[in-house]
C-alpha cells in the first residue's frame, strides 16, 4: 500500500518538475540568453579564435543553466554570466591562449601618447596625424597582444561598459587592482599603437 502511495507521489513530483523545468527554460531565455551577443563578443576577444569562443560561450551558458537556481532574480544577470564565463576561461582556456611575458611599464609615462603627439608640433591635429591612420584591425590586434590580466579588465571596462565594482566582482579582485590594471593597460595600449605607427611610418619618433 505504502509503496503505491510513494510511487504516485513520485509521479506527481515528476509532473510538477516537468512544468517547472519549462518555466525555468522560459525565464532563462528571457533573462540570460539576451546577453548572448555581449558574451560572445567578449569570448572572441578572450580566446582570439571563433571555435574556442563558441565553445566558451556554450560552456558558460550550460553552466549558468545548471546553476540557474543559484541566481538571485533581479540582481545583475549580465555580470553573473560574465563571472561564470571568465572563470571558465581562466580555468580551461587560458593556457591555450596565453602569452606569458614580463612587461616593463616603468618607462612609459602617464599620458604617453599625448606627450608623443605634442612633441611632433603644437599645432598638429592628433586625429589627422594619428587616429585616422590606424585601422580597426590594428587596434584589435594591439588589444589581442596585451597580457591576459590587462586585456580582461580593458575589455570589460572599455568595450563592455562594466563599472569598476562589477569588474572587481567578475574577476574576484579588488577595485584598486582593477584601477591599477586599467591604468597600466591603457599605457601599454598607447605604447603599442605608437610603436606600430612609428614602424609603419605614420609618425616620426621625436626621440630618435
Amino acid at each position: 500500500m505504502s509503496i503505491v502511495v510513494v510511487a504516485r507521489n513520485i509521479g506527481v513530483i515528476f509532473l510538477t518538475e516537468r512544468q517547472s523545468e519549462k518555466e525555468k527554460k522560459q525565464k532563462f531565455e528571457a533573462e540570460a540568453l539576451i546577453h548572448l551577443d555581449s558574451l560572445y563578443r567578449t569570448a572572441l576577444r578572450m580566446t582570439r579564435n571563433d571555435g574556442d569562443a563558441a565553445d566558451l560561450v556554450q560552456d558558460a551558458f550550460f553552466k549558468a543553466y545548471r546553476f540557474w537556481d543559484k541566481f538571485e532574480e533581479g540582481t545583475n544577470c549580465r555580470a553573473w554570466l560574465f563571472k561564470i564565463m571568465t572563470n571558465i576561461f581562466i580555468n580551461n582556456y587560458r593556457s591555450k591562449a596565453s602569452t606569458p611575458q614580463t612587461i616593463d611599464l616603468e618607462d612609459i609615462d602617464d599620458n604617453f601618447l599625448f606627450g608623443q603627439l605634442s612633441a611632433l608640433g603644437p599645432s598638429e591635429d592628433p586625429e589627422k596625424l594619428f587616429f585616422n591612420k590606424i585601422f580597426d584591425t590594428d587596434v584589435r590586434a594591439a588589444i589581442d597582444k596585451m597580457p591576459d590580466d590587462f586585456r580582461l579588465v580593458t575589455i570589460l571596462s572599455l568595450l563592455e561598459g562594466f563599472s569598476y565594482q562589477e569588474i572587481a566582482d567578475i574577476l574576484n579582485i579588488n577595485v584598486g587592482t582593477v584601477k591599477s590594471r586599467l591604468h597600466r593597460g591603457r599605457k601599454l595600449l598607447q605604447k603599442s599603437l605608437w610603436d606600430y605607427a612609428v614602424k609603419n611610418g605614420f609618425v616620426k619618433d621625436a626621440a630618435k
Binding site: 503505491v4 515528476f14 614580463t102 592628433p126 568595450l159 574576484n172 591603457r186 595600449l189
Partner: protein, 256 residues
C-alpha cells in the same frame, strides 16, 4: 586641487567612476588649467577611438539555437508509470542513498571552506563556481607545468613530498624569466617551488607577481630559501613560514 592631483583622477573621471567631490574639483581645475584640459580632452579622444575601432559584430543566431536545444530535457515520466511499483521502490532507495551522499559532500565542503588556503585544483573543483578564491596562487595548469618541466627542462617530480599535498601549479614571471611554480601545503605550512632554465637572481623573488594575481612575498623576512642549480636549470624552494623542514622536497625532484 593641483595638476598632479587632477591628473591622478583622470582615468576615474573619464570612466565616469569618480565621486561628486572629485568630479567638481577637477572641473574647477580644468577651467583655469589649459594644459590639464588638453590632456583630459586627449584621453577622452583616445578612449572613444579605441572603443570605436575595437567594436566587433557578432553573429550569434546559430549559437542561440544550439544553447536552447541543449537546455531541453528529454521526456522522462512516460516509462515510469509503466512499471510503477518496482521503479518506485528503486527510486526511494536511490533517493536515500543520494541524501547520504549529499550530507557527506556538505561535511567535506564545510571542512574545505574553513580552510581558506586550499586552492581548488582537482577537476571536480574546477567545475564548481563556489571555488573561486584567487587570493592564493593560480590553479589548474598542472598539465602544462608538468609538460614544461619534462620537455623543456628534463626535470620530473616523482610525487608529493612526504607529508605535503600539492595544492596548485602555474607559471610565475620574475624579472629573470618565467618559472614553473608549484605549491605544496602541510597543515599551515606552505612551500613554493620555482623551477626554470632562466638565470636567477635571488633578490628578484622579493617581489613577484603570479600569473594573474599580485602577490608579494618577502623572501628576506623569516623565510627559508633553498637554491640549487643543475646545469642550466635553477631550482628554488621557498618556505612561507619559518622553520618548515623542506628536506622532503629533495627526493621528489628528479633530474634526467
Amino acid at each position: 586641487m593641483n595638476c598632479k592631483e587632477a591628473l591622478e583622477k583622470l582615468q576615474e573621471i573619464i570612466d565616469k567612476e569618480a565621486n561628486d567631490v572629485d568630479a567638481r574639483e577637477v572641473k574647477e581645475h580644468l577651467e583655469h588649467c589649459r594644459e590639464c584640459l588638453s590632456k583630459y580632452e586627449f584621453e577622452e579622444l583616445f578612449r572613444a577611438f579605441v572603443i570605436e575601432k575595437a567594436s566587433i559584430e557578432a553573429k550569434t543566431d546559430l549559437l542561440r539555437e544550439k544553447i536552447l536545444k541543449c537546455c531541453d530535457k528529454p521526456e522522462r515520466a512516460k516509462g515510469l508509470f509503466g512499471s510503477g511499483l518496482k521503479i518506485g521502490a528503486i527510486l526511494v532507495s536511490a533517493a536515500v542513498a543520494i541524501i547520504l551522499c549529499v550530507i557527506t559532500a556538505f561535511t567535506v565542503a564545510e571542512f574545505y571552506r574553513h580552510q581558506a588556503y586550499i586552492v581548488p585544483f582537482e577537476e571536480k573543483h574546477m567545475n564548481s563556481i563556489e571555488y573561486t578564491d584567487y587570493s592564493k596562487p593560480l590553479v589548474g595548469e598542472l598539465l602544462s607545468v608538468r609538460d614544461y618541466l619534462n620537455n623543456n627542462l628534463r626535470i620530473s617530480l616523482t610525487g608529493d613530498p612526504k607529508g605535503f599535498r600539492l595544492i596548485g601549479a602555474g607559471f610565475s614571471n620574475v624579472k629573470s624569466g618565467r618559472f614553473a611554480h608549484i605549491r605544496y601545503r602541510k597543515g599551515a605550512d606552505y612551500i613554493s617551488l620555482f623551477i626554470s632554465n632562466a638565470n636567477v637572481n635571488l633578490p628578484d623573488f622579493e617581489q613577484m607577481s603570479y600569473y594573474s594575481i599580485e602577490y608579494h612575498m618577502h623572501v628576506s623576512d623569516n623565510c627559508l630559501v633553498l637554491y640549487w642549480k643543475c646545469g642550466n636549470n635553477s631550482i628554488i624552494a621557498v618556505s612561507e613560514n619559518p622553520g618548515i623542514d623542506m628536506t622532503p622536497l629533495i627526493p621528489v625532484i628528479k633530474i634526467s
